[in-house]
């Protein structure tokens, strides 16, 4: 599985795989959408406002997951000097940034009808904004610094620093008093979401993960091609 991410393999992956993934994604997202909007029941306190959860939770999950992968790829490159790791990290960043933004916006839309306010600066919401700042810093580093090695160094530092924010986001609702509610799905105990709501949530999560994978594959491929072109130019 891991070998498939090696540069020469990824370039040989034809567009058929991506196209198949796109059709798969459309099917999953359609099922998820119909389930989330029409079939799943309203919540006993929140009513229909709970449906925002089906976008909000997967977005946050992917936002955190992408940065965790970026951090890990950066550390692996730092230690073992694996050439394609930075490209993986670089390709993941825009996906994570977009989902962080989606998470913040949908969270704000969810906050108004439930909490009674669009935005508060509690630990969870603030740390999520910090994550977004890290994404922006990471992406702009690659954009502004044209020297590949310099950009790589700075972006690695940003990725490692940002990594510390992840447990803070994850556990902010347990460590401190926050307006944001604690997690419903945990590894240690049974989910506190009724299965009629958990199922569409998981379907939406799967759909959006496949979507992220599609974007990642496209981006990773184009980053590899870009690198090959610039290498050729340098050799001349």
């Amino acid at each position: 599985m891991f070998k498939n991410f090696l540069p020469h393999k990824i370039l040989s992956i034809n567009n058929k795989l991506i196209n198949n993934l796109v059709s798969l994604m459309i099917i999953i997202l359609l099922i998820g959408f119909v389930y989330a909007i029409f079939i799943s029941p309203p919540d006993y306190v929140q009513g229909d406002a709970v449906r925002i959860m089906y976008v909000h939770v997967p977005s946050s999950f992917i936002a955190l997951g992408c940065f965790a992968l970026i951090g890990m790829a950066s550390i692996l490159n730092l230690i073992f000097k694996i050439k394609f790791m930075p490209l993986i990290a670089k390709s993941l960043a825009p996906i994570g940034a977009v989902f962080t933004f989606t998470s913040i916006v949908t969270g704000s839309l969810w906050g108004k009808p439930t909490w009674g306010i669009w935005w508060v600066w509690d630990a969870r919401l603030t740390s999520m904004v910090i994550l977004f700042c890290f994404y922006i810093a990471y992406i702009t580093t690659w954009k502004f610094i044209t020297n590949y090695n310099k950009a790589l160094k700075l972006s690695t530092i940003i990725a490692i620093l940002g990594l510390f924010n992840l447990p803070v986001i994850k556990y902010s609702v347990d460590w401190w008093n926050t307006l944001h509610q604690p997690s419903s799905i945990t590894l240690t105990s049974a989910p506190t979401i009724h299965y009629t709501m958990l199922l569409p949530l998981l379907i939406m999560l799967l759909g959006l993960v496949v979507y992220s994978l599609v974007i990642f594959l496209m981006k990773y491929k184009s980053e590899l091609i870009k690198l090959k072109i610039s290498n050729k130019k340098n050799n001349k």
Partner: protein
């Protein structure tokens, strides 16, 4: 398997990560009073020196049967099942504000037992279920 260079890099990185995590822990620990979004009635009761002029937030559950409406004003009791604070508020409460549910009040303390709020937020918990399931659960109780 690992070359000397790689082992050295792992060593330095581990030290760096360790020191960074301690730094961040210490920063967050010292800022704890500002990181917490609200205090529970028990925390306010146990706090030695509370500034009555400062804007703070109190959070907990709305005590059953404590909501009393008088015109535009509303009085209720925030409890954490140990200590209680009476809250007085004038204005519109959020839809989810009700007895037995989570609430956060923003405003100023008059004393340790009486709070004048200028903003009320509803805090909901991590339990999600259809109304029928909730009714069934209530019936079992």
């Amino acid at each position: 398997m690992l070359t000397k260079k790689v082992r050295l890099r792992i060593f330095y990185l581990t030290i760096l990560l360790f020191i960074l995590s301690i730094t961040i822990f210490l920063v967050l620990k010292s800022l704890e009073d500002n990181v917490v979004y609200f205090f529970s009635p028990a925390e306010i009761y146990n706090k030695p020196n509370i500034l009555l002029e400062k804007k703070i937030r109190v959070g907990g559950l709305v005590k059953q049967g404590s909501i009393k409406k008088k015109g535009k004003g509303i009085n209720f009791v925030i409890t954490d099942l140990k200590n209680e604070i009476i809250v007085s508020f004038v204005g519109i409460t959020p839809n989810l504000f009700s007895e037995g549910k989570g609430v956060i009040a923003e405003g100023k303390l008059r004393d340790k037992k009486y709070f004048i709020a200028n903003k009320i937020l509803a805090k909901h918990d991590e339990n999600y279920m259809p109304p029928e399931v909730s009714e069934a659960l209530e019936a079992v109780k």
